[in-house]
Symmetry: D2
Subunit: 398 residues, 4 copies
């Protein structure tokens, strides 16, 4: 590594799940990749004073509770936003105004309007702005994209994306802020459906043009978390609290290039912990991926000899595979955290001048927001669904 | 086996793929199941005189080319219809009028109107009428249905059905009658999508109430089969012939009981030969199936102990499993043909008095037709799709 | 089909599991394959008079209880032996002496001596003699053999064969004749280990030269079957009966061509119903197979491009695949019974003059017997195992 | 985290693959686990001066080239040995003599004699000595061990362990020091076979008592690495260098508790990059694992209801699973590096007083060495193999 610059000084805003994993990524990235400069973690920001202990355990020299103080500090170069979506716009705008590089967790914002303001701010800023769709940094998906980009799959016809989780499958799983529209914006759709949308558009290098969607909330009230104060006293039935977001989303989609998409996102797929799946079928081949087996890519070539055709289970851990070569020898798999390490690597490279590495840009991420808005708009009017016309009513015995 | 009756005398109408497999099923069923009476194959009907040789090789004592002569013969008890969909109604109506038991391949008809006439005829007939949705006789799916019926999956939330084939993936795969709307009625939708619809409604014991659909024809012209005369001279571009049906269908669906369905059927999923898949998620568990591994059922129970939960790969070859006990010891799998043997077993049992065995009835099969009609109607108006509103047009870089 | 000869007239000796499946195979083979002549089932032979009803249900015109009367009948062309191993030699010798074609279930005999007599009789007979190692007729394994024979795997280094069942896993599973050395010859080794040996030698076209083996009987006594009289009053502990054969066998093996083999057979692999597995690694590629997914072959090519290498899951149901083309379209799998249909096809072709089709010959099958004998001999002297020399005895804490 | 002590000061000896991954583990462990004290990396030791740059990139404040100077330094508490096996004994003995805690990579030594000296030194030392069999820290394997320890599998009958790699499959893959007996001690056997032996004995809590083994060197000479000087001028055929260790090892094994083991280790299993597999069958259940899918454990329970039995695919990422709870939510997998983090956690806990955490102890690791020695001894005398006695020589057509 040739040190060309002073260390890059980092503030992470948010100390939840994402804050922890970004912290680990900042620590790990310079040790396995040549970033061109040192990384210096400066401060972690949380909302409560008692977060200081955990911050120290995570290795942070400093902890703060007001992000406003932090994002303008002269000893900070990068503001890494790991808070819930309703605060993304405000923090990012302040950080960009202060000349900081910004990495913002997905979804970019809770609305298209917010997202557009962020895009405008990024466009007029001289610093780097990037949205954290981390799954793009899965070596298997990056390898899939390379195959598609080089034409190995031919003309793309089908996109089949499912993001299946099950942590809300139990109707008595407790309420969280993620189930409150005011704070979370949307439910499953924005949380995990957004990943599928970004992955699909990015893999194909193509845009979704229209959608037809259904959203469902299967469990409309949930018990409060132990010790949780009611949401402003607005209880649901009895002591239960209302769920004001979707539990599941399903939609068909058309792509500008002609492909047909089918998307589904749910937190109620009992038994599926984190099945972020996508399959792409083209005229010359197919790829299939499931994050539950993140080190594998299934790949089918239609030009394999007759009788010897089949989906190949590729272990995406070879030196040739995107990102993989920096780590361990072939066959020694990576884990979830490494996506975030790769994301930091790309961000720092963008800061170093390789601007294309900062993907998705705020503009691309705002485009995902537009698709989410179209999905929500479509789902709001289920009248567009065509009824099955049965003679005597609902029954199939009519 | 106690012989309670004279032999059941069989005519099979149609000598293509389905005619061959029904023939094998009629031969095999009485050898492994106690049907209560002997089976006597009488005559196979094809369109061309030269079919006689193949009929003899298949073991038929007689071959005929006009089904009209056959369905009224006094030495025939059962008329088994294995022809393309456009002839189902006429043959079935004639056979029922002649007092014959009727097994009719799916889809029941090419339109709701035809299907309704068949339902009416069946309702006024004293003989048994049954539609051949053979996948219901897959032991793994029958086992899944038993689990759902006994409540093992709890409240059903998700149905995820895909029927993926790839024999039209190559744009130069030749034209066939299946690609001509006049003769086939519809394309992928009616051919394989119908299976998914029937399977889903049957597994859940529930009805699809509304759909939102997209159909696609990715390859609009195809070369004629070697030696094939043009379709009445109506060629497409150059010598190629027009494809007038769908290559692929995708739709979301709502069920009366509240479940959310996502369906997809295609003949363009490169690398998927016959992936008839369905996954059902309920509040207490899930099942997943793929016909490419037809002897397996994946089953998840949410009440398995924490830390020891996971989808079980059940080999559905145990004595306890539906149909399986009549065959080989556990672990010795069945093949595609055995679905048809099981179907014959159920038909003969229905003829013997167990009327529920003749499922689906024509009425149930007509209900599938209604869902297909709703899908086609929805797809005909893509205007109901909600556009993604981008500032500067299609591009994600707007 | 061109009828070149009179019908081939069949007697099956044995009406257990194997008798049933051979019956089905004789019925099915002429319907899907061009055998050149008709098949005429004449008589099924069982030991008990009450077998007559089941014989009729299986479609046999005649049932007999004394094989001696049958094998010399002038109206029989083929004697198909499906009895336990201790009777194979006597029946086969009588049938060959009477000029009949003989198909004999595996293992060929219960000893090398018996096997050698059968080989000698076959050598001097003008009729066809074939041993029924049915797994050779699995399309996936036949496809694997073709790959190896054409050199696609290069120099073969590793054979890794396991045949895992679990029906004796429960110590209270009842005693059967298969657990009695007098009648069964050996236990797991001869019953299923023999399949692995034959498959391996056949796939490689190579011979096992030496072995080092361990046999184990984990459960030494078992309760009698309900209603079972004691074995001549020789009870084990209390009312339980002694198990006098092996429950499991494991051995390493060297091949003449240099490959290293590892074999394991057991009926105690809890959860594995019929996992007949084999993997072959060569310098240029590998194949892997598990009968629990009998329609699939995993195939790896070392010359696939770097980064796109992986085991392909081939569905061995294409027209190009051995035997598969006669059946259903690609993706529509076969079942266990079809191996036996294919075996009949090959036998009849051998009778028709294609002598190589009658594989394995008695000589080849006797060679498997020699390997079994070497395994038993090796296992009889566990003194050849090298002890782990620990200082203070058994403990790893020494 | 309560700081109870001064920081633990670390020296890592060896800067190859293992040195890099231990470095990462030391950095990560205190961030996700409560170790009770801070970790302070002091110095990395390599053989060549030019390693200093890589050491800095890896985050080390200091780099040294003579381990002898380092292991006695007063500012070092832990000596972590990541060098080839021929130097383990000397370094460990020096470090223990200097009162340091020692973590030593596997195999413990290149001979039983060396291992015994290390055991003796550890026994008389007051510091902690631990051998790094990292696979013990795979959550899936640790979960399997817990199941076995609590009796969930009942009486253990079968151990089926394979460690399959393929990086030497190509005969022209270059020579390395790992193929030289003087430096590596043994080949595949000690390198990866040792893992299988340790894993098996540890999972069962039982000892291997005897073995029967075959070793093979399939490729006896290899070209030198580009730029590699000959091994003291001792070339093989032409310019190729001799391979003096085994390419593959296979052995049967008996366990003190009665189980039967089958082991295989190879670097020639074309297509298997790092398939460290083990399956255990007991009277009540089974577990199966493959490191190529390290986040999964297959688990079969014989007491699941009839008809609903099958291997469960458990994602071992739940809070209940060993080590897993400290990381990411369920369904977000770990990678290879995390085994080493867990190993550091256990070492530091042992240093803090939880002595059982330092497993395997040198004594346990020396026991693995004894098994390796027995395997080598057995393989040295292939005369103990029982020949297959064929009449006319090698041919199966005899």
């Amino acid at each position: 590594m040739t040190m060309q610059d002073a260390p890059l000084r980092i503030a992470v805003i948010g100390n939840g799940f994402m804050g922890r994993i970004h912290t680990q990524a900042w620590r790990t990235a310079p040790r396995f990749f040549d970033l061109g400069r040192e990384i210096e973690p400066i401060v972690l920001v949380g909302r409560r004073p008692e977060g200081a202990t955990a911050a120290r355990d995570l290795g942070w020299p400093e902890y703060a509770t007001d992000w406003r103080d932090v994002v303008t500090r002269p000893d900070i170069d990068v503001v890494d936003i790991c808070t819930p979506g309703d605060t993304h716009a405000e923090i990012a705008l302040a950080a960009l105004a202060a000349g900081k590089h910004v990495l913002c967790e997905k979804p970019l914002a809770n609305s298209v309007e917010e997202a557009d303001r962020m895009v405008a701010a990024a466009a007029s800023a001289s610093s780097v702005a990037m949205c954290g769709f981390s799954y793009r940094r899965t070596p298997a998906l990056a390898a899939a994209r390379a195959l598609i980009a080089e034409g190995a799959l031919g003309e793309i016809r089908h996109v089949r994306a499912q993001y299946l989780q099950d942590w809300l499958s139990d109707p008595d799983a407790p309420h969280t802020w993620r189930l409150d529209r005011e704070r979370a914006g949307s439910g499953t759709l924005g949380d995990i459906g957004a990943h599928s949308i970004d992955t699909a558009q990015w893999l194909l290098g193509d845009d979704i043009t229209a959608v037809s969607a259904v959203l469902r909330t299967f469990v409309s009230t949930r018990p409060p978390l132990a010790g949780q104060a009611g949401l402003g006293g607005v209880g649901g039935s009895g002591d239960r609290l209302p769920v004001t977001v979707d539990d599941a989303a399903a939609f068909t989609a058309t792509f500008a290039g002609g492909a047909l998409g089918v998307f589904e996102a749910t937190r109620m797929a009992t038994g599926r912990r984190n099945a972020n799946r996508i399959e792409i079928n083209g005229s010359l081949g197919s790829v299939a991926f499931d994050f539950e087996r993140m080190n594998e890519l299934e790949y089918y070539r239609a030009d394999d000899p007759s009788g010897a055709q089949g989906f190949r289970r590729i272990q995406v851990t070879e030196p040739e595979h995107p990102y993989a070569g920096a780590w361990w020898p072939a066959g020694h798999g990576l884990g979830y955290e490494h996506l975030f390490t790769h994301q930091i690597v790309d961000l720092v490279r963008a800061i170093g001048g390789d601007l294309d590495a900062a993907a998705p840009s705020f503009a691309e991420a705002a485009d995902v927001q537009r698709v989410l808005a179209a999905v929500a708009e479509s789902a709001a009017n289920e009248a567009v669904m065509t009824p099955v016309r049965r003679v005597g009513g609902e029954g199939s015995e009519s």
